[in-house]
Amino acid sequence: MSRLVSEALLLRAVDFGESDRIVHLLTPETGRLTAIAKGARRSVKRFPGTLDLFNHLRVSVSRRRGGRAMAFLERAVLISPFLELRAVPTRYALASYLLELMDRMAPEGGAGPDTQRLFSFALSSLSALEGMAPDLRIRLLFELRALDALGLRPELRHCVRCGAEPGVRAGFYVADGGVVCSSCTVRLEGVLPVHLGTLRVLQQALDYDVDRLERLVPGAQAVVEARNLLFRFQRFHVGLELRSERFLDESLGEPVA
């Protein structure tokens, strides 16, 4: 039996049977981890107020060595519940969307600097969102950072085909995951038009600390281009519409995709 004692973020909890819960956790050590919390819905002592969405926890998880069975959540202690995420519908919608993105895309059972970085991003983004009133701009900036933390960083500085500077007639080529220069654009189909100003703002969003993202104020045209670009980029990599997307679009007053 191996045991993991770690910090964790609760991505999702599903009732199972009469008294159990299956939890999807994000940990800095393992990435995404699925575990069963036996008797969680009955016990008031083992998991008091802990197995709730957005909760930052300290958990103890055990797993049979080499076994393929689900891990057991033995204990969970609440560190922070990020209560302010529940108080504003747009915050709740965006935080739910980011968690679902991580739940679907985070590596499972992987270890290393990438999982540490993803976990740090997840915590810092929930913490930052607690003090924000999200709009489309905030959504796009956080979505870009989430994709980056998941290892899906779009190349925005140099042409993904030839390495040249983008130039004024640059575009974004979703299939290659980045910007294409004026020369390469003409040889490709399905390139999304994008202005250099938009690329600059998105690059800044990748460089800023998460809690400073709110200070970035792209113009209306950049927001429209970034929306189109990120929508296609996300859909290309995730492969389907996330369940939380509709509520997020409605909350932000966006036309539902």
Binding site: V44, L53, F247
Partner: protein, 199 residues
């Protein structure tokens, strides 16, 4: 399972119920085989009439045998007070407390974007219509005190903010018979915030 086709058919049906696995289904099938005929008849009758004898109340959306349900039709209930709950089981829990004499509104779930549950999946429009019809003085938001329940309560509060009715949220804190030592710090904090004077 090495048994009769009838047993296998029953076990296969039972296995489709939530929380019932293959072993539990087989165990229940064996139990029913050895149970008295009267129990089987009673069970078959109850299952057979479940849908035809159950209606959803057109006012509060509780499960009942009539519409309006007994609570909505009771003239002794305070029609100016509406308690909003997630599911019929929550309504039953509040009724069991014996402390509430108003009417109810069953939402049919909570806002849970990750599960694809948005406001259109809940009976929030119907609640707004009941309030717009007049006569309601207070709405008690009694969704569960978890992330989804709290977010739903805030969403409804936003939606009804201009309605002019008093909006309240059920209290949150230590459970009766609870133990401070085992409670999480948020629950303890809320218990202190929501403390009451003792006389």
């Amino acid at each position: 399972m090495h048994s009769s086709p009838a047993m296998e058919r029953l076990a296969a049906s039972l296995k489709r119920l939530p929380g019932i696995g293959e072993k539990s289904a087989a165990r229940l099938a064996y139990f029913l085989l050895s149970a008295p005929d009267s129990l089987l008849t009673e069970l078959a009758d109850a299952v057979g009439r479940l849908k035809s004898d159950t209606v959803i109340c057109g006012r509060c959306f509780n499960l009942s045998d009539r519409s309006p349900c007994r609570v909505c039709a009771d003239p002794r209930r305070d029609a100016g007070l509406i308690c909003v709950v997630e599911e019929p089981a929550d309504l039953a829990a509040v009724e069991k407390s014996g402390c509430f004499r108003g009417l109810y509104h069953v939402l049919g779930g909570t806002l849970s974007p990750i599960d694809g549950m948005g406001p259109e999946s809940l009976r929030i429009d119907e609640l707004a219509k009941r309030i717009a019809a007049g006569g309601v003085g207070e709405v008690i938001l009694a969704t569960n005190p978890n992330a989804e329940g709290d977010a739903t309560a805030h969403f409804i509060a936003d939606r009804l903010a201009k309605s002019g009715v008093r909006l309240s949220r059920i209290a949150c804190g230590m459970p009766l018979g609870g133990d401070l030592e085992y409670a999480d710090h948020v629950t303890v904090g809320r218990s202190l915030e929501n403390r009451r004077e003792i006389s």
